[in-house]
Symmetry: D3
Subunit: 288 residues, 6 copies
């Protein structure tokens, strides 16, 4: 179960409020690279971790709680960026509240209309968080890769936000969050290192059941069949050490064209009931 206190995990200061930057910060809350996704993802992964792997559950839940703290930091940053308007705008607008004027131009007007100048559970485009972003597959290795991907795109997001602001307070907060994303990338990699042989995920499926002749072949789909480019992924030992990379083309296998379905579906287009049908059509040729 869960607890809280009233401190932020790390200080959040805004020197000059900037409603446009508030909009950008939303990606850090509700975006697919955002903190709601990782907080809930690690939490659901923890929920499904069995007793025999309890130490991973503990670790996942700690980082889930940490990420909820990041949501709180982003939400606080958004509120502080919406508490006022930049001096340049204030000077420009003779009367009326410059904040309102800025919200009118913002791409995220619901921060004002629906939340009274606070954060929302949406991304920077204004799109609500989606529960299907949460990956908790039940397989720890698959989950670790999903977590690395989430932290890689999450740190990328934070560095882009860092480049977009000149506010020292915001840069300080983002420098902290970037550091944590550094840790979390390392952390999920460390789990994989400890787990050992996990490739190909899921490792428990016996590879002899798969069609192994296709397991390490790069398939080129260029229209004109090209020569092997002799890249890391077309020759040499495979990364999982179980095979040799090779180069080839799609094998092909039988026609893609299906049978008719039952009449009750009313798939028949015409009254005549198939006068246009031509059973003799050579489905391999466009021309007759």
């Amino acid at each position: 179960m869960f607890y809280h206190d009233n401190e932020l995990q790390y200080e959040v200061e805004v020197e000059e409020p900037d409603p446009q930057f508030a909009k950008m910060l939303q990606e850090g809350i509700g975006g697919i690279e955002g903190e709601m996704r990782v907080a809930l993802q690690y939490m659901f992964q923890a929920f499904g971790t069995p007793k025999s792997k309890a130490k991973y559950r503990n670790m996942l839940m700690s980082t889930a709680m940490e990420e909820f703290g990041h949501i709180e930091m982003y939400a606080t940053a958004i509120s502080k960026n919406l508490e006022g308007a930049p001096q340049s705008i204030i000077d420009e607008i003779a009367d009326g509240n410059p904040l309102i004027s800025m919200m009118m131009e913002s791409g995220q007007p619901r921060q004002a209309l629906s939340a009274g100048l606070h954060g929302l559970a949406t991304d920077a485009n204004g799109v609500p968080f989606n529960g299907n972003y949460v990956i908790a597959s039940g397989n720890l290795a698959a989950d670790m890769y999903a977590n690395i991907a989430a932290e890689a795109t999450g740190r990328l997001l934070a560095t882009r936000l860092y480049e977009m602001t000149d506010d020292e307070g915001m840069k300080d907060m983002l420098a902290y969050l970037i550091a944590r994303d550094t840790m979390h990338q390392n952390q999920w990699h460390a789990v994989l290192e400890e787990l050992g042989e996990t490739l190909p995920v899921p490792a428990s499926f016996p590879q002899e059941k798969e069609h192994e002749e296709y397991s390490y072949q790069f398939m080129s789909t260029f229209r004109e069949q090209r020569e092997d480019p002799q890249e890391r992924w077309t020759q040499g030992t495979s990364i999982d050490g179980e095979g040799e990379f090779s180069y080839g083309f799609q094998p092909g296998g039988g026609t893609a064209i299906v049978e008719e379905v039952i009449e009750e579906m009313h798939n028949e287009a015409t009254k005549a009931g198939g006068a246009n049908d031509d059973e003799s059509i050579d489905d391999q040729s466009e021309s007759s």
Copy 2:
């Protein structure tokens, strides 16, 4: 630009149609682990790959095309599973079409109602594919991790589908798709190996700008502060080789509580305008 022919990439046969399994196969099309996601993901990643990295564009686009071929295979498999009903059901139902009876019980009735017994652009729960599943971040390393995650959960899905059917045709098709997921996991790892130093993603952000004291510290959030469990992620050299893992707790930094916003937001709850406000409230204590 793009081309096609009329062959399937690999043979798709169904020995005994099974409408319930058709529903499961939808996850392979429109699920977050499915083929629409990877086909479009690799395609959008290829779209954004610049000239200086053209060989990666070529590789990504080839695998995108291959994945579109997998959508075609799954869609064909769904249609074939919906072309009839299992003999056991046919025997059971005295009159009426047993397929219709099975669709009535299915969790995916739109395969009949909206598609005339064919596949849909949805997942196994019936939820439509969502464009935000597509990760194409512009950073090749971040994208590779997203691709590994997609293929890891994708192969996991395929192995689960494999366990759920006894149909030899379906097992054969899935054995092929599982093999391809083996290759693609290896392929994206091979790119990372070739790229070299990519951690922490994005590698181009100068680490001295992040708050490095937090870059390699595992933060425990257990309510009662526990001792260092001495795990791979709390001590020793970090995976990226740039630091030493350590163990600690959330630093904390200032109150999380925000200021009032402008009056025009009408955030004030009462007519009296704040009679209940108590500026002296100690926001650090619940009790007065």
Copy 3:
């Protein structure tokens, strides 16, 4: 503005309640082919129809109101199908409420959990209605084609539902709704006939501004260039009477590969900053 009375537009009777059929009926409410879509679509189209075309506004709004009446009919039908369980199930279940047992197996459990055994604003897969289904383009011809498409798929849905039930009450209701879809298809076609020259939509764009050499050519994308199949869409006068159909292939035009973006995006994957870049890569060849 709008009014109502307490009669249904047409009688809704259910002889033997069938919770599974209630699930199917949801497609008629919240599906992309359903009544919420057409009711709101015609209403929004009416909202945007200008004074000079007021008679079309009147017609659109009448049919919008009629479609709201169909939502009411479907919702009533769902409630009546959920008011009890089929006798066969009642006999089978010794104790407990058979309805609850059926809802447990249904693919639409929210009819019980969220609506207390009534209809929802979802489709038959349980997916909520989506405002983007509503097409009201501002161009009457485009809207009429969208309406014909909605009624064609809507009537198809109703006929499939008709085939899936043996209940005389339900068949009677659906026979009415199918008839109305017949009328509405005819109605939207009648508007197009009256409008006259609307092709290609939008007719007001001067065709000499488009690249007319591509305006009537069928482009084959078969991998191996095939001969003209001499179909209605590859030769003869075009349907709009403005050109001659022809047969050809994608013209092609320059490389698809883009430039680098600004550094602040951190798209660079490696620390070395491009050691893997190879400006000399021939982007037209996969092999070196």
Copy 4:
């Protein structure tokens, strides 16, 4: 910031696993009446509560944390219901895993396919949680009503789930959750009582600015104007004590029909450019 420990908030036991009931329990996690919604809703409300109202922030955050604990309970309950199959099914199925057979029939196959037999961030229909369910308006009174509504529908959901199971463990867990919903309904009402005069929300908007002649009138929209039914909402003092209820009809005000838009929108349907337009159309009559 946030903390956790490894105990459940309240015991979760399942006597006989029931995969179908697992599906129903999803509504308690990701449904609009579910725990994700209230946990995040109270958390976002707390984020936006200003210093002068810090005691409400404390209260909201405590209940947010409690609700996260309920997500954990529901997720644990789902996993336990998926850990096996009912004895009746096990007896029935000669070979193969009965759990797999049950998942095939379930309306929520992604519990197996995507989560390896654990909970998802979706509702009982399989639809993912949506960030727009979270109401945090910035106005404490509006938020309290949103919270009461959430807890009223949430307790209703829990009582329906209670009726749908005979499992003593599940009934015990639900009896606890129902009790907590009792408390939370009382809690939000208590805040409203303490706040005092909050109606109409938002109370800070000066009522003399609204068109007060319409502020307390029930508008009947029956097609035939009916007599005042003399109900509580058509006569007597209004609930907010500021007016007298009355009974009337929609006032009506000018035509609903709009002007033409600019040519660049290509709203014109025909080539002739308006030959069908009839500026003299009496937009008030359907017949000419």
Copy 5:
């Protein structure tokens, strides 16, 4: 069934068109606080109201129809705000259509691109209306609280829009809509008053079946257990009159950690099949 005429429910005039305000007005149509939600919500509630409560059905349907009239008003207001550009912009732009220029900067470009300068079924962020916003639970008391919440946030939205415009026409329309929201809040409260004892919702569930020791206790989740703050919600008689508020902490109940699932799920991360498992792990401690 339903009827219409060509008058607006109340006059809609725009003195100076303002495309940015048009964007804001979208929240009034397709937002979760908007008119589509309440119109459909009251309509679906009416659909499910049984004969014994027919007078509530009548009332709900009247207000549903009134709300459809509000959609029409908002849509008309949007069209009128998009019929031109503010004089200040017209002066600024030497050539080209200033409206197009404004739409390019708008956060809601689909008003032009998809609707030809008319309203959409989306909110102010551009997100489409979602059928799951519609609450019609089947329990009249629960529904009344949902309606009060919808009208409270709806009136809050309208007052915020009122503050954001200086246009006298828009202020007049909003002053009418604000008045109606005043009435509707009172109306739903009046129903609750008339119903009498409805708390806790649903009142029909026998409270002795819930775990009553937790029914009136405020649970603090502060990390450090604090003293009772002696607030309205921690002492005194509960609002429903059935209990006494008290103050306490989460009871806790057994471990949150689950069992392994069946092998067919391939949840096992490693080839070795559990070499990393440590059944002896003390799941209550992070450190070994």
Copy 6:
């Protein structure tokens, strides 16, 4: 299966980059009128076309491939519009990157934050592509109408984009895409011409089973019953040649009010269990 090469289908040049126009172009990718929808729609239609209609499969798949080429063109155009900022903006901004400044003001910030200045799988409002936009009904005639509607709104979109830019490169690209939309509208009409008698869709449903007295009657829903306006859709032969248009009103049929549901749903609002119920209520009158 599928193939590609590295050329664009048609040249994409941008003379002066324009980030705002990049945002608009997104509608061409992920909008309901966009290229993802038609590419996937034609592809899924092809997947479901049976052997007897193989020539239509060939045609649909060719045009699907062509449309994927249009996605590539739009994505390239977006990247090129985001590669720089207009000279006017560059002049204005003293320091800092003007592109970043423009992205801050854009309504589509995720082009920078999530995609590193490339295209997304979203529409111009930033809303992700939705798999339910894909219509593939199984009935060729219904699908052709859906395709005509998609191409009509698609060409309308392209002409609106054409009017919104002065960039010669963009106008050239759009002039090509508009021409292709001309072809595709003609192409789908040509299929319908060839099919022959398809109205009403689905033509295979025997019209004598529908309630034919309502099959050709325009139903007016004006509150006051008006006279027949004598329009094309109220008199004369129907478009399908099977009936005569007529003019009438909604027939009406029985009360819309439903029965009570089972107790286990807890739909009862009060403790007293129905004290407010009034079985004698005349559900046809609002007044008592």
